[in-house]
Symmetry: C2
Subunit: 199 residues, 2 copies
């Protein structure tokens, strides 16, 4: 399969790359590196990427930013950072990508454990992850027949624990290589409308 | 208790009013009717409402609009209708309301069955409801101690079936009076961070 991997230079992206590249052709996309550059916050940039690479059989997104901050100081503007980036970045990847992908392609988005298992400072992540999961379940039943969409919900990633540990006490970290299995299940399996939890 | 009920003129709002008014003082808020007018899309309007009514012991929102439409025709702009209205309307009600409510107050927001049980044309509702549920779970653990927040997730409401039936075939409609029990559980109980499903 030809797999477009967005966020290929990130920790999860590298895990997905290592998992899928022995069996598939990977087109690596990032903001500033890789085979093709893309800014998911810019619809024109998403369109230009798909125009450049031609049809793919799988679109995987392992990217998306949210604002972490004390709930007491959260306001609409801070919540909108995650809505604009992690939510609409990935949603627009699907809404535009569906025009370009092959007939039996899959989309795999990234949500995360905070949708269900919240932490201090994480209310924006919880909100955005909930939105992604609702979108995936509903988009799956209405997509053009043959197309599929899933999300992977990883726990905190082992390789990110150096920075994240103080915020994720008690969480059992997930190596990127194990989180990558969720993406493989979505890309190489046939399920749709699922949230694969890798906690 | 002094209960601020937003969306008091709506179908669910009337059910909540009937359930709570025998035991509590209800301040009815709507865009154009009731005891106080509010437009949840306008932060200044929310603030003016709380300034006017003084401290309350419970804030209940039964309101919020999303765009229903064929997934093939959904774009960012259409998804943003629900994000701006049903999501940020209710979020801002909490973010502003928390400055004005009494020390042991509760917030009760409205999500809905489509977060879990999607229908055609409902992908924006699924997305927004997922976001509300993620927010409620996370905000609950970080709120000022004593404050609580829950959401009620009703199925399609019996009294709305005249218009909604074609889109909700197979769904077992919930009378507004039964959906109202979820709001009573949130307002009059002590749970927090919960999504009360009334399907």
């Amino acid at each position: 399969m030809k797999v477009l991997l967005i966020g290929a230079s990130g920790i999860i992206g590298k895990g997905v790359d290592a998992e899928l590249s022995p069996r598939h052709e990977i087109i690596r996309a990032s903001r500033t590196s890789g085979d093709v550059n893309v800014d998911l916050k810019d619809i024109a940039s998403i369109r230009a990427m798909f125009e450049k690479i031609g049809p793919v059989d799988a679109v995987v997104s392992t990217t998306g930013k949210v604002h972490f901050g004390d709930f007491a100081e959260m306001d609409e503007e801070k919540y909108r950072i995650g809505i604009d980036d992690k939510l609409f970045g990935q949603i627009n990847l699907v809404l535009i990508g569906r025009e370009y992908v092959s007939d039996r392609a899959s989309f795999t988005l990234t949500t995360g454990i905070l949708a269900k298992d919240p932490i201090q400072y994480g209310s924006s992540a919880s909100m955005v992850n909930g939105a992604i999961e609702g979108f995936v379940k509903s988009a799956a039943i209405e997509m053009k027949p043959g197309l599929r969409i899933n999300a992977v919900s990883p726990g905190v990633i082992t390789e990110a624990m150096e920075g994240y540990a103080p915020y994720f006490r008690g969480h059992d970290p997930v190596p990127a290589a194990r989180a990558a299995l969720g993406y493989a299940k979505s890309v190489e399996g046939l399920q749709t409308g699922q949230v694969f939890e890798i906690f």
